[in-house]
């Protein structure tokens, strides 16, 4: 489809793109990238308007994976929505579960025992490890590595998923957190298995970085591509590694201090340039910080109950009111907003998905770049369509 654009193009960010004149109005090409596309991280469509190779407009179209998760939440009990939260960001089910459990615990004022908090931190950091290494792999796949770094990352991810399976019964759809703690108590063998994995993960990350970080092709494809300015990132509600790569020091684990995160000492890496290479590097550095948090948590985990003895499985009817609970998921701020009207089902159940909000700037980042760069930039934003569309 060829568009007739006679007025100067101004992107929503205010950046001016070079004006198109009437005489050339046959020269722009609109390409639909997706929804069937191997590099769009799911069923995601980008309507890209091209002037030669340069992108002059990009409109993301999604909703192909919309499963009316929020409407289902209004017709399901609070406990019944927990397995559905696994399926939002389907790669990081433990953190989705934690965010939802946190929101409900805020709503009903439910305390959580200490051992459960430690287990939650261990599982969240394991989730972050596997998400960040796999994202580096996916980003390299978008650059054209055809899967080699991705398969190395998946090899390590399988070991983490085996841990999740032996604990919760399922590799990805764990349904593990409950309101007031966790469902199953991990025994000493499981904790020893986690210790073994954590000790070996540093060596794997060294090998992975030897493959990718200094690689000239990776640097040529990703440095300077998709630069994000910090004030635009803050205004657009970007969170997670994408925000920290732009140089804004906002990590909800440090700001909110939810759970027992204030007990752990860890650094928050920041990027200087905000380009794709920084987003990749931030993820690798955060993975190393996760290993440090895991070591501390595994050392200090106390004995005790895994779930608050007063918490009940069935018949939860919170008092009328509302609560918004959020955590630092691997992709950004994942939050749940619940409005209760005193009944067993919530009146309004809303998921604040990080991938959905992070996509706001996709057009701004891609303007002026080539089609190949658009794929790389999309890869570095780290979206999962399960939570973009819900």
């Amino acid at each position: 489809m060829i568009e007739n654009l006679s007025s100067p193009l101004v992107s929503p960010a205010g950046a001016r793109v070079r004006p198109v004149q009437d005489a050339f109005h046959g020269d722009l090409l609109e390409v639909s990238m997706g929804p069937h596309h191997p590099s769009t991280h799911g069923v995601f469509r980008m309507m890209v308007t091209l002037d030669g190779e340069a992108i002059v407009r990009l409109k993301p179209v999604f909703g192909y994976l919309h499963r009316n998760h929020e409407k289902l939440g209004e017709n399901t009990t609070y406990l019944g929505s927990m397995p559905y939260t696994d399926r939002l960001d389907y790669l990081n089910s433990m953190t989705n579960n934690w965010a939802y459990a946190l929101a409900v615990e805020k709503l009903i004022g439910q305390p959580v025992p200490e051992r459960a908090e430690y287990v939650r931190v261990i599982l969240a950091e394991l989730t972050r490890l596997q998400n960040h290494t796999c994202l580096a792999g996916f980003l390299m796949q978008d650059c054209g590595c055809s899967g080699t770094p991705l398969m190395y990352a998946f090899r390590e991810r399988e070991r983490i998923l085996d841990l999740f399976e032996s604990l919760s019964g399922s590799r990805m759809m764990c349904n593990y957190q409950r309101f007031g703690g966790c469902r199953v108590d991990p025994g000493p063998e499981w904790l020893d298995a986690v210790r073994g994995l954590v000790e070996g993960y540093g060596a794997f990350l060294d090998e992975y970085e030897a493959l990718l970080t200094g690689n000239e092709i990776v640097m040529a494809r990703t440095q300077g591509v998709g630069r994000l300015k910090p004030d635009l990132a803050v205004s657009a509600g970007i969170t997670g590694p994408m925000l920290r790569a732009a140089g804004v020091p906002y990590d909800i684990r440090k700001v909110d201090g939810y759970g027992i995160y204030p007990r752990f000492s860890f650094r928050v890496p920041l990027g200087d340039h905000g380009d794709t290479y920084d987003r990749y590097m931030i993820r690798v550095l955060e993975a190393r910080e996760s290993i440090s948090i895991l070591r501390q948590a595994l050392k200090d985990i106390p004995a005790g109950p895994i779930i608050d003895p007063k918490s009940r499985l069935r018949g939860l009817r919170p008092k009328a009111g509302e609560a918004y609970g959020r955590i630092e998921g691997p992709k950004g701020e994942i939050g749940f907003y619940l409005i209760s009207d005193g009944g067993p089902n919530p009146h309004r159940y809303r998921v604040r998905a990080p991938s959905f909000v992070n996509l706001t700037l996709l057009e701004d980042l891609c303007l002026g770049h080539t089609v190949a760069d658009a794929v790389v930039i999309l890869g570095s934003i780290d979206i999962v369509l399960g939570e973009v569309d819900r």
């Binding site: 929503p12 960010a13 999604f62 909703g63 919309h66 009316n68 929020e70 409407k71 805020k106 709503l107 009903i108 004022g109 635009l232 803050v234 205004s235 657009a236 509600g237 970007i238 969170t239 804004v248 906002y250 700001v255 919170p318 008092k319 009328a320 009111g321 509302e322 609560a323 918004y324 959020r326 701020e333 939050g335 907003y337 409005i339 209760s340 009146h347 309004r348 809303r350 604040r352 959905f356 909000v357 996509l359 706001t360 700037l361 569309d389």
Partner: protein
């Protein structure tokens, strides 16, 4: 961080005559919100973003809520004069009134510069039918762009001032707003063998004469209502 009541005082000092109230939150989370009238919504939002104390530069979450109209039955004490001239009788009468429904947009605001939050802003439409306009806060916080589009798509609130208000999750030709409480899902049917009565009733409407392989099983009731 300032309480919502203190923020309200400062807003009223800056915008005298604006409608700002603090909504209660009886749950243990105690996250009380500021209900702002639609007329001053954008100016108050700009004030909150640029204020030196709050510096709410990050709009985290935009939610739509559908409050359908509610019938409230109240017991009212009425004085009935005694025809025989004695003291008036006090009788309790049940009075029905209809609380009008509205659509609501809820904004969760945080400050990345100051590390505080959440400050919750709410704006309500006049009704659920024809007057469903609210000012868009996308010119203030860019993060509202996609989220307000989603609220428009699923609830039908029209945000005026939004640079690109169109449907985002649903297809463009849809006329309905699915997250409203009175939404009726279309009856597109696919045969399911689970013999719940409601599923069988729908099957009976679509399949006049089921084939033997797909006939309802003996455990289920035939021709259920």
């Amino acid at each position: 961080m300032e309480s919502p009541e203190q923020i309200r005082e400062r807003i009223l000092a800056g915008f005298p005559g604006a409608e700002v109230t603090v909504a209660a939150n009886p749950s243990p989370s105690d996250q009380r919100s500021l209900v702002v009238g639609a007329a001053n919504g954008r100016e108050i939002a700009r004030f909150l973003r640029d204020d030196e104390v709050l510096k709410l530069d990050y709009c985290s979450n935009v939610t739509g809520v559908d409050w359908p109209e509610k019938e409230i039955i109240e017991a009212v004490r009425v004085e009935l004069p005694d025809p025989s001239g004695g003291p008036p009788k006090i009788v309790e009468k049940k009075v029905k009134r209809v609380q009008p429904g509205c659509l609501e947009a809820v904004y969760h605001l945080y400050s990345m510069a100051r590390g505080i939050g959440p400050v919750i802003l709410r704006m309500r439409t006049a009704n659920r039918g024809d007057r469903v306009t609210l000012p868009s806060l996308t010119p203030i916080w860019r993060s509202c762009e996609f989220q307000e589009r989603e609220v428009f798509d699923l609830f039908g609130i029209v945000f005026e001032g939004h640079p690109d208000l169109r449907r985002i999750l649903m297809w463009d030709e849809l006329k309905d707003h699915p997250m409203r409480k009175d939404y009726v899902a279309p009856d597109d049917f696919e045969w399911e063998p689970t013999p719940h009565d409601a599923v069988l009733a729908r099957a009976a409407r679509h399949f006049q004469d089921p084939t033997p392989a797909e006939a309802p099983r003996s455990g289920a009731k035939e021709g259920a209502p």
